[in-house]
Amino acid sequence: MSNSVDPRPFAIADRLAGVGRIVGVSGSKGGIGKSVVASTMALALADAGSRVGLFDLDFTSPSDHVVLGVERSFPDEQFGIDPHEAHGVQMMSIAFFAGEAAVPLRGAATTNALLELLAITRWGDLDVLILDMPPGLGDTSLDVINLLPRLEFLLVGNGSRVVIESVRRALSLLAELDVPLVGLLENIQRVADGAVASLAAEFDVAYLGPIPFDPGFEAALGDIRLLRETAVYRELARMLAPGLPATK
């Protein structure tokens, strides 16, 4: 070998060997509820008996632990690090290490943090590992597409023209890169105008259905009992009752 080698990518397949499906919950705009959907989906699947992991990849603004009400907890170390189990969900988040400190990362640093956690986290046996993606199609999205050949995406959008335009770009890129799609989920639906369903049809992607705007959701953040009573949880649990849909 002529150049030095970063060994971390070589360990990733082993660390994920016991994981059935890997689903990146993504959307191209911030604020459309990716973290809420990813976290609540993980909870609903775990409640239904699935073995679920939840990996918060929004390193600069992690929030899955806020949604599920999980305190900072340094992971246990053995042959690597173990995810933190909360409410039946195996969780990993940079917030477990950083606490409340801001984590300002440029692109290369984001890639390095991702590689480090993929190389050392022992996910064990899971039916599904949900990746809560940061907004957009930047470094982290491109990295996971390159590093995780089994990756599927589930896109979250809503009927706003701003979001539709942005999700269209994401669908276009994922189709070009041949990344399998679980489907397109309409979140925070205020008007049933069919825009998200039409977009799904345009790209021949499953429309997973609408989750209505739930004015009470904010009060349920971090409280699992209340979270399970929200429209978000109910709709996701209903959609996922037959299991996580297959990709198209």
Binding site: M1, S4, V5, D6, P7, R8, F10, A11, D14, R15, F74, P75, E77, Q78, F79, G80, I81, I94, F97, A98, G99, A101, A102, V103, P104, L105, R106, A109, T110, N112, A113, E116, L117, A119, I120, R122
Partner: protein, 139 residues
Amino acid sequence: MHELALADAVMKAAVQAADDAGMARIDKLVVKVGELQQIEKDLFEFSLANVLAGQDPRLREATFDVSLEPVRFECNSCHHGYGRQDVSLDDGDGGEAIHFIPELSHAFARCPKCGSPDFEILAGRGITLERLEGSGPDE
């Protein structure tokens, strides 16, 4: 010990590199450990030895040459270059966090000249496999 997972990654990388180079036997792995990750040389040598069992048979007789690489930062704001001695990296939870994920230095360390968290880690970040020594199938 999460060092074992990193040592295991080094072994896997070495096997791939040996495959690429057509090596029949791997005699030595030359590994650099970045100062920022705060892993002691002896501990990483122990970790490498510990994960050797069960790896590719070509690694069975391999020895390890582990050295520490000093960390070098450069501030993106004022372009000041600095090293380990110029910043506090091992205070409480911050030090532990950086040990697991060196990029968390951006959360807990600042440029000693201007106070910016926006810096590059030019060298000494983490673990790298620098070189393999071994022999090909005809030796």
